[in-house]
Symmetry: C2
Subunit: 199 residues, 2 copies
């Protein structure tokens, strides 16, 4: 009576919004599967292949693009990033919810792809810092980066934040605990949707 397909939960937000932490915690608690992206960039220290990214050669990545295997993909500063459709659909079909930490362009691609080709229960959320001041504090907090890098991140973050009205839900970040509680509430609520149960 209650079998349902999994929900694909897209989470966007600027750097410093805390979205990655939220997504990882949801996955760590076993509430949803974290979708691991593919990338052609080199692993950074501590990054694990298959957990942080699937690290691919440019050739392997391009082959998958040509074969239409990506749900979304993009090239940034000469490196490609993308999510394999198979990475997502196998879990959804098994009734497992999937969470994706994704930028606004990627989210738009996923929406177009799911509208046109495949029937996926999609929920999208935009996570925002509480204020511009707090965003600046959070972006400056990463001591490894120069003034210039921080200024660029700030500019990009503000530009990205203009896209929140395209999303179904918006979460304005408060404390970590409160954010996670509201974040998880979203998934709990969406699972109770009659439209999903009937599908």
């Amino acid at each position: 009576m209650s079998t349902r397909s999994g929900i694909l939960f897209l989470v966007s937000g600027p750097s410093g919004s805390g979205k990655t932490t939220l997504c990882r915690k949801l996955a760590d608690e076993g509430e949803a599967r974290y979708s691991t992206s593919c990338t052609t960039r080199q692993p950074r220290p501590g990054e694990v292949n298959g957990r942080d990214y699937h690290f691919l050669s440019h050739e392997a990545f391009d082959e998958k693009v040509a074969a239409g295997e990506f749900l979304e993909h993009a090239t940034v500063h000469g490196n490609s990033y993308g999510t394999l459709l198979s990475e997502v659909t196998c879990h959804l079909a098994a009734g497992i919810d999937v969470v994706m930490d994704i930028d606004v362009q990627g989210a738009a691609q996923v929406r177009r792809c799911t509208d046109a080709q495949i029937c996926i229960a999609l929920v999208d959320l935009f996570v925002m810092p509480p204020s511009e001041e707090e965003l600046r504090v959070r972006l400056t907090g990463r001591q490894t980066d120069s003034e210039e890098v921080i200024a660029l991140r700030m500019k990009n973050a503000l530009a990205e934040m203009e896209h929140w009205p395209s999303y179904q839900y918006r979460l304005i970040s408060a404390t970590r605990e409160e954010d996670y509680c509201r974040f998880k509430s979203l998934l709990v609520a969406e699972r109770l949707r009659v439209a999903r149960i009937q599908h």
Copy 2:
């Protein structure tokens, strides 16, 4: 930026589903205002005018019906029950969420009324017992009632339960704590809806 009107949260379900307890707890915690109905029936021992019901004479009730003051109303076994539109809209306009414990016919009336006349953010939920067996246990638990009354309640409950697909959300009752957690998640999630923020 984040001002929003309140949400009208309709909660239906058969006797024994636990919906009344859920609604009252939400109101007790200050998360939403409990909408108090009007009725022409006599108060039962312990019932408080203005808390459990607004107790009205038949004449006063009929006058309000004629004046179009009810969001929904019905007559059951010679007594009338109804919710005043003003009881709900004053809170919603102030950004306070309102929860209504309402039967399926009442919920259908509210949907029609809000579709046609007034712009209200409506969320509806159907609460179900986990199984027919558990429903029987819960209805029998009320030691004050005869076998016949229980059999009638059971029949009515099963008939009412057929209406769950008309609702946006369905909650299958588990434990009281779990039910309340999921119930509250619904409200938390609905408050994050971008469509409501923009209104």
